[in-house]
């Protein structure tokens, strides 16, 4: 045992290479110092005792080393194959999402074209009588107010944006952030300035549209919008723009721009096109007989 340890102790620090470790040896010392299989030492000692020569040439080594080369290659190849698989799954999901969005857009376009067709048929039917003609005119006016038809015309465009982030300084107070209340105030000021139709980031406001906040995002008609916010208002620019400029809201935003760097910009536009709002009419219905029986 003594000579065995002496053989193995070369170059392995203070502890012998082949030590089997005792209760006095901390585990981590073992891990870092016993780096050669103690069986080598035992075999060497056995050989020395019996006087036999070392076994075999290099032939016994062939199989394990071929195996090692094989395993190395397989493992490396597997790792390489696995990475693109994750990427492929991600790409497939993205493609899927894009496809659904496109489908939803197509359906939306179809809804709009069918609605236009229905409106055309309805107007044709109404125009056959004078009472119907009056009704058609009233409908046109109401549709404009309600926001269920696309409109185009001159107007003003107001851009609101969060204050630019100062490097290394988080805006903890939120003073420079545009909130739902800011958008509400601007929209209300535009209505009272005489705007006829308003859209925020291309989402048309109907009489039922809510502007509210959920977490950090602002929702317009339950759909998220992100800064910069473009509030487009169709109306006579010559009356809407000065009326808005004189409003308290405009004055407040000028102050916010000076103090916190909030983006605020009012521009006249010769031609604005606002899409129709998606309106779902909520109205009372007479319950069916079965519903009445169960209710």
């Amino acid at each position: 045992m003594a000579d065995m340890e002496a053989r193995g102790s070369r170059g392995a620090g203070e502890r012998p290479v082949g030590s089997t470790g005792g209760l006095d040896s901390p585990f981590f010392l073992d891990v870092t110092t016993i780096t050669v299989d103690p069986a080598y030492l035992q075999a060497a000692a056995a050989r020395a005792q019996s006087g036999t020569a070392r076994s075999g040439g290099g032939r016994t080594l062939m199989l394990p080393l071929v195996l090692l080369g094989l395993l190395l290659t397989i493992a490396a190849r597997q790792t390489r194959l696995a990475a693109p698989a994750a990427t492929r799954a991600r790409a497939a999901l993205i493609a899927d999402a894009r496809e659904r969005t496109a489908l939803s857009d197509r359906l939306q376009a179809r809804v709009e074209s069918l609605r236009a067709e229905a409106d055309g048929v309805r107007n044709k039917a109404l125009l056959t009588s004078s009472a119907g003609q009056l009704l058609a005119e009233r409908l046109d006016r109401l549709e404009l107010v309600v926001g269920s038809v696309a409109v185009r015309g001159p107007g003003v465009e107001i851009t609101l944006d969060d204050a630019p982030e100062v490097e290394g300084q988080e805006d903890l107070t939120g003073d420079g952030t545009v909130r739902d209340r800011d958008l509400q105030e601007v929209v209300n000021a535009l209505w009272s300035a005489g705007a006829e139709a308003i859209a925020i980031n291309g989402l048309r406001l109907s009489t039922l549209t809510a502007i509210r906040e959920a977490g950090e995002a602002i929702l317009v008609d339950y759909r998220p919008v992100s800064p910069p916010y473009t509030v487009a208002a169709v109306g006579d620019p010559d009356s809407v723009e000065p009326a808005f400029a004189e409003s308290q809201v405009a004055a407040a935003f000028h102050t916010l721009r000076e103090l916190y760097g909030v983006g605020f910009d009012v521009r006249r536009r010769e031609r604005l096109v606002l899409p129709p709002a998606i309106t779902r009419l909520r109205h009372a219905t007479v319950p069916t007989a079965s519903a009445r029986a169960s209710g």
Partner: protein
């Protein structure tokens, strides 16, 4: 010379045949390979120490790889597979590093 040749033959074979690994074995293959590498560097160290033995090498090579893979498999069954494979890799990594350092000392006397 023969061992290096054998290693090259293995690599070429792996590249040519491109065998597919069953999905159930896949997570344990890298661990087994690292354990086998540890056995190889341990063998080289023993060779330089003048105590190398073919039989011991073959046995340590096969058992190292198997034990490492089985340990991680058991860990997976117990829900600590990730941690256990980290532990195995750490221990084997330390050993490989130490053996390479010893081999370097043998070869360059520094």
């Amino acid at each position: 010379m023969i061992p290096a040749l054998a290693l090259a033959v293995g690599v070429v074979l792996g590249l040519l045949v491109q065998p597919s690994v069953p999905v159930s074995v896949q997570p344990y293959l890298p661990i087994a390979v690292v354990a086998a590498l540890d056995a190889v560097f341990g063998g080289v160290r023993a060779l330089l120490d003048g105590i190398f033995d073919d039989k011991v090498f073959v046995v340590s090579f096969v058992s190292n790889a198997l034990v490492a893979a089985v340990m991680v498999f058991l860990g997976d069954q117990l829900g600590v597979g990730g941690q256990l494979s980290t532990a195995v890799i750490v221990v084997l990594g330390i050993r490989i590093f130490q053996n390479l350092a010893a081999i370097r000392r043998h070869l360059f006397r520094a």
